[in-house]
């Protein structure tokens, strides 16, 4: 049996093309791209009419927290993968801050096994840089690499020790693994619960200055200059960080970077009224920072969009602001928020799909991100005009912590195909 996706606008940044075409999938792989109307479906073939839809390489979110093992009350690999395909993501890379931490091949294998059973999105584990995320001894990156990790990161427990960061960059390069850094100087951010600025003063909340992020970005770039390897900077949030990465790329340093939809959409003002759904780390910043990360996306300083999908139980948000958990879910709103932003900044479709698929695939060296003939048929169909409202009941995630509940959006993924199999379709 084969599958025809008929008459959609095919956007394929990996091959620098954008054309209306019929796309033919056979045995889980892309078999052909033919002019519209030339499809010759056989009796048992499934034909998906895609006129007015975008046909894009499966979206890849390289920064999610799936919480399993250990925090299944927030999310499981199955519910997280369900949210992923419902948001148009055919693959996600999950961070190591589970319980136990993914700092061993055994945990990596467990995650992969749970993902296989879920059978939805592809799940790529990210291993810890340090044992137990304690920031002292290197975790067994080689063993985890054999088991299937695609990167290493101590996300959630930012690496304070510069020497450990140096060793991590050096050692991880043996296995061609990127080191993903959550950049935060914990001494400067100490006690902070939101951006340090006008709103932290008004609300009387302890602030996290931009310098807490920027000084660590600067440190790690300086280390990278010496070590080589591959540094990937997670969730950039400040104008200063964007400028540092821009300058480093100009010097040819092996650095890549991501930004979250919330950091290119919201400002610190979202915290007004002590809205714990707007509490995250790094915190929401200022209008100037939002503009800077958008410019970073436009000029390619920032390579990709990643959600930092961080599910939390409602009780962890329904409490004192300073005690509330950091982070929000993001898999199901990412496409809509990206489309909204892209319209505002006049971003091309190709650039947008590159940031959501082709670039994360390149950074993590994953098989997807392309619609080349012979590539795995990981494909997302997007209706860029569909109007919808983000409702609590519609989410596939186990958690509901998002500031975007009730938002009216234009555009969303309507079908997600992984290896030629339809894993999710809107309303179906």
């Amino acid at each position: 049996m084969s599958l025809w996706i008929r008459g959609g606008l095919v956007i394929d940044p990996a091959n620098d093309r954008e054309l209306v075409a019929d796309l033919h999938i056979v045995d889980g792989r892309i078999a052909a791209l033919t002019p519209p109307g030339s499809a010759q479906p056989q009796d048992h073939d499934l034909v998906i009419p895609a006129e007015s839809l975008w046909v894009v390489p499966g979206l890849i979110d390289m920064h999610v927290h799936l919480r399993e093992p250990g925090y299944e009350y927030k999310e499981t690999i199955a519910t997280g993968a369900a949210a992923a395909v419902a948001g148009g993501f055919t693959a996600v890379a999950c961070m190591a801050n589970t319980m136990p931490v993914n700092d061993s091949a055994a945990v990596t294998e467990f995650i992969l096994e749970r993902a296989r059973i879920a059978g939805l999105a592809r799940v790529y584990p990210i291993g810890a840089v340090s044992k137990g995320l304690a920031g002292r001894e290197l975790a067994e990156m080689g063993e985890m690499h054999r088991a299937g990790i695609v990167a290493v990161s101590d996300d959630g427990q930012p690496i304070q020790d510069g020497l450990l960061m140096r060793r991590a960059l050096e050692y991880a390069s043996t296995f061609d693994l990127p080191v993903i850094a959550h950049e935060e100087d914990r001494a400067l951010s100490q006690g902070g619960v939101m951006n340090e600025g006008e709103w932290s003063f008004r609300l009387g909340l302890p602030g996290i200055p931009s310098a807490a992020e920027e000084s660590m970005v600067a440190r790690d770039l300086a280390i990278l200059e010496r070590t080589g390897g591959h540094l990937h900077i997670a969730h950039l949030s400040t104008a200063g960080s964007v400028e540092l990465v821009r300058a480093a790329k100009r010097r040819g340093l092996p650095v890549t970077a991501e930004v979250t939809p919330h950091h290119f959409t919201l400002t610190e003002a979202a915290v007004a009224g002590y809205n714990t759904q707007a509490k995250m780390n790094p915190p929401l910043r200022t209008v100037k920072d939002v503009q800077a990360v958008r410019e970073g996306l436009l000029d390619g300083t920032i390579d990709c969009i990643a959600t930092d999908h961080a599910p939390h139980h409602q009780d962890e948000k329904l409490c004192e602001f300073d005690r509330a958990a950091n982070g929000i879910i993001g898999l199901e709103t990412a496409v809509a928020l990206t489309l909204t932003m892209a319209r505002e900044i006049g971003w091309s479709r190709k650039q947008m799909i590159a940031a959501l698929s082709t670039n994360p695939a390149r950074i993590l060296k994953l098989p997807g991100g392309t619609l080349s003939v012979g590539a795995p048929a990981d494909i997302t169909l997007i209706d860029p005009e569909l109007q919808w409202v983000m409702g609590a009941e519609s989410s596939r995630s186990r958690s509901r912590n998002t500031p975007f509940l009730g938002y009216a959006f234009r555009g969303r993924a309507v079908m997600t195909i992984v290896e030629g199999q339809i894993k999710w379709r809107l309303g179906g």
């Binding site: 340090e196 600025g197 006008e198 932290s200 003063f201 008004r202 609300l203 009387g204 909340l205 302890p206 009224g273 002590y274 009780d315 329904l318 409490c319 004192e320 602001f321 300073d322 005690r323």
Partner: protein, 329 residues
């Protein structure tokens, strides 16, 4: 006018008319405390619960006296006997209190925004009695009442607030309200305790003299001694050398300057005894006004934002008082 707020969470969100209305109401309540029998039945049958999750004596007592002078039943729960230690969430504790049908919940809590959280989830009126470093609206209202009694106006007044601005809820409440009322505010303190984000609201300076120059009001903040641990200043001695208000400083201010302090005083650290006990000090007037302000707040919220004409006039007050006397007899 009608006071349409259901809660008193902070002064930033109040407009000029609302603040002045609160002050007018408080002024009308002042005389009750000067009567021989200091009790009116205005809140008879109403219950005020005070939940204090932070040590406080004077604010809690001030609320208690205010509630009792209005004949409300007053129950107080302090941090040490609360359920917080047993692992109960704040919202659960509050919902349990609310299930007992209080009319007003007075909350003091070390986390900014907790009164907002409770106001969103409870039926009763919530009064913020100090939330973390955010606001302390009744303290600022009593400060404003004291200023208005002496100066008769706010427009054009120069008010210097001195000390740990960064961590002070008293400073924030006063700053927001004074700006709304048209006063000029200057903030002074060591740069470590003086966030640059204040700039849109006030002139800031690390030099006490610059702030006091020509001021109508000098408002001092209590220095939390534990701030020294956070390296905000090297020693109490050095702090007092630069920020302790002495008699000499007052020569720079207006001749009729008034000196305020929310208490408790750190004599010799932020205020010299000569100033604290001197002729410009209005510190004890502030305390007296605290009861009147809290009576006004409890009254307005406890009666559900009653229309202004329903607030007792002087004559009505006397009538209420008479009935109160009868009740007492």
């Amino acid at each position: 006018m009608r006071f349409s707020q259901r809660h008193l969470l902070g002064l930033e969100e109040l407009d000029r008319e609302e603040i002045l209305f609160l002050l007018d109401t408080a002024a009308s309540f002042r005389e009750i405390s000067e009567r021989e029998i200091k009790k009116v039945p205005a809140l008879r049958g109403k219950t005020v619960v005070a939940a204090f999750f932070e040590p406080s004596t004077r604010t809690r007592i001030s609320f208690e006296i205010a509630a009792k002078r209005l004949s409300a039943d007053f129950v107080s729960l302090s941090g040490t006997v609360s359920s917080a230690a047993k692992g109960e969430t704040l919202l659960d504790t509050a919902r349990n209190l609310a299930a007992m049908q209080p009319d007003v919940l007075v909350l003091r809590h070390p986390s900014a925004g907790t009164p907002h959280l409770l106001a969103k989830h409870l039926q009763c009126a919530v009064v913020n009695a100090g939330d973390g470093c955010h606001e302390h609206p009744t303290q600022a209202l009593l400060d404003l009442l004291t200023i208005r009694e002496r100066k008769g106006r706010f427009e054009g007044l120069v008010v210097a607030i001195v000390g740990d601005i960064l961590h002070s809820r008293v400073a924030r409440s006063n700053l927001f309200a004074l700006r709304t009322l048209g006063a000029e505010v200057r903030l002074a303190g060591p740069r470590t305790l003086l966030p640059s984000e204040c700039a849109p609201w006030a002139f800031t300076t690390p030099h006490l003299e610059e702030a006091v120059q020509g001021a109508d009001v000098v408002m001092l903040l209590r220095l939390q001694r534990e701030r020294q641990v956070g390296n905000f200043f090297p020693s109490l001695e050095e702090y007092s050398r630069y920020y302790c208000l002495e008699e000499g400083h007052l020569k720079l201010a207006k001749p009729d300057v008034m000196v305020m302090h929310p208490g408790p005083l750190n004599r010799g650290i932020e205020i010299s005894s000569a100033v604290a006990d001197g002729p410009y000090s209005v510190i004890l007037d502030q305390v007296a006004n605290g009861v009147a302000v809290r009576m006004a707040v409890l009254y307005l919220l406890g009666t559900g934002g009653r229309r202004v004409e329903a607030v007792p006039t002087k004559t009505q007050m006397t009538a209420i008082q008479r009935s109160g006397r009868r009740a007492t007899r």
